[in-house]
């Protein structure tokens, strides 16, 4: 079996696939790739027919060496790539020889990049997923971020590889990112003033942004509600803690919570938010569930036609 040696792990690199389903009541978050379309496009590039895991790198600064030849692809936030010190194309499938060094460095925009290896990262699956959930200490090699010197097992490769460039470009960053959300939960309890802070003011992505969620700062949204009976959170839920600064909950969120939530950001915008760097301006805009369905359908259609 091929082994991928992690010479340099980088700040927050983890093994991720599409994540877990059916574990919320146990208190286990779904985890999974923060930029799911980027994960899927890499799986497609390497001809993976199953949900093979990749290495998710936040602000990539990673170097790896396989012990036998393999194919790799990098997707998600754009990176600079070197093989044994020579610059290489970061949007194509590359053949890497045994013992070669692949260096990956983040460029100027986006957060999460994915290193895919033909055959997929073959660490053991827990609840049918290899995704790492650091807080719960499960998935990946030891339930932790990857560390320098780790050796990751690689699965058996599929020979049916797409060689043309079908990478999925990260959407251009925009001065103000619109976060469309489906109102719900405690939306009706918001005072007029809180509602206008939420809907009419601009927020900024702070440095407290990670796999659990993205904390925003701006005009505080004071709900006056201090704590509620614990109930399910969800992907994209806008949580309003006492200080009034919204936190958008993402893949590694706590599965239940007692803070007021006026709704949940749609998936498509969650992905853009996850890829936004601190300082990015954002605004909230309500949208109906039907509109959210239409956007999800269009994105899926775009992904499928790009990857055809």
């Amino acid at each position: 079996m091929t082994v991928l040696r992690i010479n340099r792990a980088g700040a927050a690199s983890t093994v991720q696939d599409s994540g877990r389903i059916g574990t919320l009541q146990l208190g286990l978050p779904p985890a999974g790739a923060m930029d799911h379309p980027a994960l899927v496009s890499g799986q497609h590039l390497l001809g993976h027919t199953q949900d093979e895991a990749a290495i998710e790198m936040a602000y990539a600064n990673t170097e790896v060496t396989p012990d036998s030849s393999c194919l790799i692809a990098v997707t998600g936030a754009p990176v600079s790539l070197w093989v044994d010190g020579a610059p290489a194309c970061d949007t194509e499938v590359l053949k890497i020889g045994a013992g070669q060094r692949v260096s990956i460095k983040a460029r100027s925009h986006g957060v999460y990049s994915y290193l895919h290896v033909s055959g997929g990262i073959a660490t053991p699956a827990i609840f049918d997923s290899r995704s790492t959930s650091v807080r719960e200490g499960i998935g990946g090699l030891a339930g932790t971020y990857l560390r320098d010197g780790d050796q990751l097992p690689i699965g058996f490769a599929n020979s049916d590889v797409i060689t043309s460039n079908v990478s999925l470009p990260l959407p251009e960053s925009t001065p103000t990112l619109m976060l469309r959300f489906v109102p719900g939960f405690q939306y009706e309890l918001l005072t007029e003033q809180a509602m206008s802070s939420l809907l009419e003011s601009e927020f900024k992505v702070t440095s407290r942004a990670n796999r659990m969620g993205v904390a925003l700062s701006g005009d505080p949204v004071n709900t006056g509600v201090t704590s509620l009976l614990s109930e399910a959170t969800c992907y994209g839920a806008i949580q309003l803690p006492g200080d009034g600064n919204p936190i958008v909950l993402l893949n590694d969120r706590q599965t239940v919570g007692g803070y007021p939530k006026p709704g949940a950001v749609i998936r498509s915008d969650c992905r853009r938010l996850a890829q936004a760097r601190p300082g990015q301006r954002v605004r909230f805009a309500p949208c109906t569930p039907q509109e959210a369905d239409r956007i999800a359908w269009l994105e899926q259609h775009y992904l499928e036609t790009r990857l055809r």
Binding site: I21, G27, V182, F185, A232, A264, V265, R267
Partner: protein
């Protein structure tokens, strides 16, 4: 009285008004159980909270209006008798606890604060059979209620950065056992030597919503024989 509304683009949430109570939790569990049977694998996940049930699905697999209508009908109906009988037949989970200041930094403080002897605190805590209302906070964490009003205590203003696994804790009129080392703001009055969450066990969590739970005082030697440390 209940309401149904969206929980994001892939979820529907049912919430009952009023305070949590055992019969409501049983009803929510019963609806969750039939949702799993009715929608099968198209139901991605579901979560029972104190007064809520949230169902998650792909709207292109389960039509949203159909889910809402189903939930409406289920919430209106009486709780399924067969399910209630199953729930009532679950054995009481007994959790051994060593109540001792060396593993319970708040035991003496709580006794003094509430003008009780330590023995009375132990009796008041280990006497009732509690009901498991909700899970969450961390895998294996279960909110148990309702404790004696004589034991009611506020949470710590600043949570401890690390509470040891097995810590038996109180807050307001709830009690719980911390499954793993984690930050925590509840008051610690004892230690349970059993593992509350173990991925290799089936099911992985020792406690689940709807369980009846009792605490049993044990001596230091029994605590250690059961695997306790601290």
């Amino acid at each position: 009285m209940f309401e149904i509304g969206p929980a994001g683009e892939c979820g529907i949430r049912l919430i009952f008004s009023g305070e949590p109570h055992e019969a409501l939790t049983s009803k929510l569990l019963s609806i969750q159980h039939s949702a799993r049977q009715c929608f099968g694998t198209e139901l991605i996940d579901s979560v029972v909270g104190y007064t809520t049930l949230t169902l998650f699905f792909e709207p292109h697999n389960i039509e949203r209006d159909r889910a809402i209508a189903w939930l409406q009908e289920s919430a209106d109906a009486d709780t399924d008798e067969a399910f209630l009988a199953q729930l009532a037949a679950r054995p009481v989970v007994v959790l051994p606890v060593w109540y001792h200041p060396s593993v319970a930094p708040d035991l003496e403080w709580l006794a003094e604060e509430n003008a009780l002897s330590i023995d009375t605190v132990i009796d008041l805590h280990s006497d009732p059979t509690y009901f498991a209302y909700a899970t969450g906070f961390a895998p294996g964490f279960c909110y148990l209620g309702t404790t004696s009003p004589k034991l009611a205590v506020p949470r710590l203003a600043t949570p401890r950065s690390e509470v040891p696994a097995g810590s038996v804790a109180l807050a307001d009129q709830q009690t719980a056992v911390y499954p793993g080392p984690s930050p925590g703001g509840w008051r610690l009055i004892g230690s349970c030597p059993l593992r509350l969450f173990n991925l290799k066990a089936a099911p992985p969590a020792l406690l689940t919503i709807g369980d009846s739970v009792r605490f049993e005082p044990v001596s230091e030697s029994e605590f250690r024989a059961l695997g306790g440390s601290g």
